[in-house]
Amino acid sequence: MALPKYTETRYRIWHYFYIAICTFVFIFLIAPLFVIFPLSFNAEEFLVFSEGMKNLDPDAFSLRWYKDMVYGTKNPWGLAAKNSFIIAIFATLGSVILGTVAALGLSSRHMPFKGIIMATLISPMIVPLIISGVAIFFFMAKAGLAATHTGIVLAHIILGTPFVVITVTATLSGFDHSVTRAAASLGSNPVNTFMKVTLPLILPGVISGGLFAFVTSFDEVVVVLFLAGLENTTIPIQMWTGLREQLSPTILAVATCLIVLSTLILISAELLRRRSERLRGINR
């Protein structure tokens, strides 16, 4: 972005102004995440930087909130984490299976009523969560699934499938259908063709859709607040109650762990995206 030498002064000023704005926005986006890190190691109970922390005094830092997170008796973070992972894993599996199969049908050029069906399948992503929450709550209450893990998993499958449908249809849009025809002509049955030929090729899309579904389920709080009982508490519910009642540094320790987790997910999603682009022959 170096400017050519002949640039007039006013454009030079404008250019630096533009760089300044961009810098500000990038800081605005990323800085809030970094405030949490140091504060989660605070030795004191307050959520402000103590004098000791500002002077980088080692005594001002401690792991006590992480200990409280793991061993603390008051906060059922252990149960919440267990529930969150169980629910997210099953919801991801369900979303990936239903979503991938549906995406296969949707990308077929023979699919009737494509537009309206696509709109229906994606609707849980567009409808405000609060409305989805109310509707899903009515269904689960009637079906006797409120306050059960099954109910929450089903709810998260509803919310997660649109992401899988979108990513897998996108992957399939660059898919060369002659390879499946080749497999069929070599005597492979459709299931075998899917498992041995199609799936390996669209796997990056499937996994990245799965990541979206996982994150959706793992972060989801609106619908879960309607559905969950005491037994089904999840990490987001615990954070929500914690943030509403009082901001304790233990929450920041949990938040730090979540940021680390999302960094890992980001890295895998990026790697997958690049692999998918390579497989589909998109060169940039």
């Binding site: 926005v25 605005f28 986006l29 809030p32 696509m118 509803i158 979108i166 509403r244 929450i251």
Partner: protein, 420 residues
């Protein structure tokens, strides 16, 4: 030559045209069967329940089932003067059944919503019935009218008649701070009780300004990301993608820390001398907090579609514009900007749709003046348990979102949504 010989036959002897059609139909069914499980699942667990919200929001069958005889005999009543003996008699017999089932309290509650004062007079009537004071061999009308003077007031009987239809639009009117008055005319509630309209307006206002802020902040960085060489832009892209993948609650928590009175932002303002140390502004639990936090949370949804559109615009176009004599500003405005409009549309609509249904962030950082319509829906779902009112408001919100979704579909197409 006859036309039959022209027909091309397959090896089975079936005309090719028919055979192709058959194959086509088979493929259609195959494709549909793949979609069917998810479609069925969503229809049962999601689309039907949304429909159920609608029936719930207009449902007023409870009272229709409570006073079947009364409403039947009221059909012939013109509603101007006190009803006939027959209406009184059937009301009493309905009421006796309710007393037996111990449901007269519910009736009183429902009628009291229609017109204030029913609670007292229903209780009085209940006591008379309980003590068997009402002699059914004599005029029931006279006896009921003696129970309380309000039973002699025609307005109360009119109120009962108004509750007869099994459906009501009352919840929708209530969400707009209106109600049906005695003459069946839509009236506004008194000024000090108009809370919902403020919430609707505030919701639209917040969604609109958050969209504007996201656009103003998202456009420059999307442009920078799209024009920088890959090795730098990939690094900067992390700044957009990391918040995108991070839990909403984590980001809200960090804003709560940053914006509190002793928080980092205030510290910074004091340090550069913008505000006095003893006069730190309140930035949380009001609209400022809602705006700042929501803008940061929704910004990636603006940047990503913008970026994917800008990436496809060739830099030579800007050079061409400049070489043809345009200043950089003119070249940008006449060449580059129009090409990014699809991305702007996608980003703005996405952010607006997400912002209009926001719930968690406003509830945590919004305080009283930052709460939105979604908070009100959650409040009625969980605290007052007025589910039909919550459903009505939810559907009104959904109606708005669907209009925007439809626009989005027209302008961008749902299958063009790109993620990541």
């Amino acid at each position: 030559m006859s036309s039959e010989t022209k027909q091309i036959l397959t090896t089975d002897g079936i005309p090719l045209e028919i055979s192709l059609k058959k194959a086509e139909r088979k493929n259609k069914i195959k494709a549909f069967l793949l979609v069917a499980p998810l479609l069925l699942f969503l229809i049962i667990t999601y689309i039907f329940p949304i429909g159920e919200m609608f029936t719930r929001s207009i449902d007023d069958k409870m009272i229709t089932n409570m006073l079947p005889k009364t409403f039947k005999s009221m059909e012939t009543w013109d509603g101007k003067e006190l009803p006939s003996e027959e209406v009184f008699a059937s009301f009493l017999s309905d009421f006796k059944i309710l007393v037996e089932k111990k449901e007269h309290g519910k009736l009183a509650q429902r009628l009291n919503k229609e017109k204030n004062g029913f609670n007292t007079i229903t209780k009085k009537l209940f006591r008379q019935v309980k003590r068997n004071k009402i002699d059914e061999t004599q005029s029931i009308k006279e006896q009921i009218m003696k129970v309380h003077k309000r039973w002699r007031n025609v307005e109360y009987w009119q109120a009962i008649k108004r509750t007869a239809p099994p459906y009501t639009s009352a919840k929708y009117l209530k969400a707009m701070d209106m109600y049906l008055n005695e003459d069946n005319k839509i009236t506004q509630v008194s000024e000090d009780r108009r809370i919902h309209r403020i919430l609707w307006l505030r919701t639209v206002e917040v969604a609109f300004f958050v969209t504007v802020f996201c656009f103003l902040m998202g456009y420059p960085i999307a442009h920078l990301l799209a024009t920088l060489p890959m090795k730098y832009s990939n690094l900067l892209m992390i700044c957009v993608l990391l918040p995108f993948w991070t839990s909403l609650l984590v980001r809200t928590a960090s804003w709560m820390i940053l914006l509190q009175q002793q928080g980092v932002v205030n510290d910074f303002f004091v340090m550069i001398g913008l505000v006095a140390d003893d006069n730190r502004p309140e930035m949380m639990y009001n609209k400022v907090g809602t705006y700042v936090a929501m803008t940061q949370i929704l910004l990636p949804f603006m940047v990503l579609p913008l970026y994917s559109v800008m990436k496809t615009i060739s830099p030579s176009l800007m050079r061409a514009g400049k070489s043809l004599g345009g200043t950089p500003f003119v070249a940008f405005w006449k060449v580059y900007f129009p090409l990014t409009i699809p991305g702007i549309g996608a980003g703005c609509l996405l952010v607006f749709i997400l912002a209009i249904g926001y719930y968690i962030t406003p509830a945590l950082v919004g305080g009283a003046s930052g709460t939105l319509i979604s908070n009100q829906i959650a409040y009625h779902m969980k605290t007052t348990l007025d589910w039909s009112f919550a459903s009505a408001m939810g559907l009104m919100l959904l109606g708005g979102v669907l209009v925007i979704y439809w626009l989005y579909n027209k302008l961008v197409g749902v299958d063009n949504i790109k993620l990541g």
